[in-house]
């Protein structure tokens, strides 16, 4: 086959045949091609011992929402934004306790460090012990996931009540109402330097406000049971789950979207100096707060 044209006529079909054979072999070995899994925005962890909705549809339960400062999926990051949401299905009410990242953990050290070393299970364990509750679900997202999620829903409406201008976090907000896309909302949620007196506490409050505002946006965009199906189908392409299937995720989503954001109480854990470095110690008022929270997942007297 010295003639190059003849050689090409042989080589091209032969290459195609080999390629087809390789693809067939891969199909047989690996199974049918799966849709490419999109970038992971967040992780949902269901505590194995947690009762399912069908087992206890009226039982109050708790959800940890944790923002970590990981820049990649491989980096678990510190748990720098921690919010425990109590839901009482029987009344349709919810309350949220915001935990400053420097709060001293029951096992000692700052509570935000537990995510970096033990992930969601370790953080859940510390918060359970701190508050006297049993958290059933934990959700975490990192910086890129947070930004992508917020951009996907077209931004979140936030009311800024004080000037926020901080180079480190990237805030440039005069008081007013903003529809914030991912980068802006991330900056808003990270800014503590615009609050000289309250610092991290006010930042923690703002993070809680961002969560409630996001819930409000999602409710508006995805009304009813069918709307929940739409939302879950989008989120499920970007989620990593532990101990949860799609039906349970739908159930959780439907419940979340049935809550009225205007009725969600948002309270920061009362803390004071601990004398142990920059750690924040729980005050007696924190014990009262947790007792109020632990009985039925709702804050009545706070």
């Amino acid at each position: 086959m010295r003639n190059p044209i003849v050689r090409l006529l042989v080589i091209i079909p032969l290459t195609g045949l080999l390629l087809a054979g390789a693809l067939t072999a891969a199909w047989l070995a690996l199974g049918a091609p799966q849709p490419a899994h999109a970038a992971t925005w967040f992780t949902v962890h269901r505590v194995e011992s947690a009762a399912s909705f069908t087992e206890a549809p009226d039982a109050p339960f708790y959800v940890l929402v944790l923002g970590n400062d990981g820049r990649t999926d491989a980096d678990p990051g510190l748990g720098d934004a921690m919010h425990v949401i109590g839901v009482n299905p029987a009344t349709g009410d919810a309350s949220m306790i915001d935990v400053p990242r420097d709060t001293e953990a029951p096992s000692g050290g700052k509570i935000n460090a537990f995510h970096a070393t033990g992930g969601l299970p370790a953080t859940v364990d510390q918060l359970d012990r701190m508050m006297g509750i049993n958290i059933s679900y934990a959700i975490t997202t990192n910086f890129p996931g947070f930004v992508a999620m917020v951009n996907e829903i077209g931004g979140v409406n936030i009311e800024v009540t004080e000037p926020m201008f901080d180079h480190d976090s990237g805030t440039e907000f005069a008081p007013g109402t903003y529809t914030m896309l991912g980068d802006s909302l991330l900056a808003y949620s990270r800014d503590r330097k615009s609050y000289p007196a309250e610092g991290d506490r006010q930042r923690t409050v703002n993070q809680g406000k961002a969560i409630i505002a996001a819930l409000s946006t999602l409710r508006g965009q995805n009304p009813g049971a069918a709307g929940t199906a739409r939302l879950v189908s989008i989120l499920a392409r970007h989620v990593r789950t532990d101990n949860m299937d799609l039906t349970q995720m739908y159930d959780l989503g439907r419940l979340a979207l049935s809550l009225d954001p205007a009725r969600i109480k948002n309270v920061v854990v009362p803390t004071g100096a601990s004398g142990n470095g920059t750690n924040l110690a729980l005050t007696p008022a924190a014990r009262d707060l947790f007792a109020d929270f632990a009985d039925d997942a709702i804050l009545q007297s706070h």
Partner: protein, 229 residues
């Protein structure tokens, strides 16, 4: 002569009475079994409307026919058990209900939602029961393997019939959530609104539900006298 006139009129009167009695017996004999046999048969008009499927992976391209058919069969079973049967007999059909409702929803029948889910305690129907439902919009959610794991159904049904006191209508609308269980589809969640209108109904004839858990709801206090006539 006067005596014979009296006799004739007595005979005539007796003959008339005998004829009337025979007529009444004849009518009674023929009418009674026919009336029992012609108990009006209920009519339930319900069909699938727009079909949508949201999916995590690439499939399915549409809501599968078998899922649509099974879901519609469950909805039909629910309407018959929860509305038609109570209007006929005064109480719901527990066997048919347990086939249509997931345990979490069936558990709600012991609470205030019972009045929203079932049409019990109303005056019995004395005429044909007609249920007219708008085409039921079905929305499915499929997992990464293409399996439909949740279906939502928009229900908008109006039931009309007559009771001894007059016309009665029941309008029930909202969303139902169905999930597969034991090889069939069952109602595992709901948001329902019910309006009942008619003479002889009690003062609490309107109720709504708000889903606070998947598969569960709490009915707020009914609106006294809001639609009773």
């Amino acid at each position: 002569m006067p005596e014979s006139k009296t006799r004739v009129s007595r005979v005539r009167r007796a003959a008339l009475l005998a004829f009337a009695a025979a007529t009444m017996v004849a009518v009674g004999v023929t009418a009674s079994p026919a009336g029992a046999a012609k108990k009006p048969k209920p009519v339930v008009k319900m069909s699938a409307g727009d079909l949508t499927v949201y999916k995590v992976g690439n499939d399915p391209q549409a809501l599968p026919d078998d899922v649509r058919d099974q879901v519609m069969a469950t909805l039909l079973g629910y309407v018959n058990a929860a509305t038609v049967k109570p209007l006929q007999t005064g109480s719901a059909d527990p066997t048919a209900l347990s086939a249509a409702l997931a345990p979490s929803v069936a558990a709600r029948l012991t609470g205030p939602d019972r009045t929203v889910l079932l049409d019990e305690g109303l005056p019995k129907s004395v005429s044909k029961i007609v249920v007219n439902a708008a085409p039921v919009k079905l929305t499915g959610l499929a997992d990464g393997d293409g399996k439909v794991v949740v279906v939502t159904a928009n229900l908008d049904a109006t039931t009309t019939t007559k009771t001894a006191k007059g016309k009665m209508s029941i309008k029930r609308n909202g969303e139902l959530v169905l999930t597969p269980a034991d090889g069939t589809w069952k109602i595992s969640g709901y948001t329902l609104f019910v309006d009942r209108l008619g003479k002889g109904l009690g003062p609490t004839t309107t109720a709504t539900t708000t889903p606070v858990t998947p598969g569960a709801a709490t009915a707020p206090a009914a609106t006294p006298g809001s639609v009773a006539k």
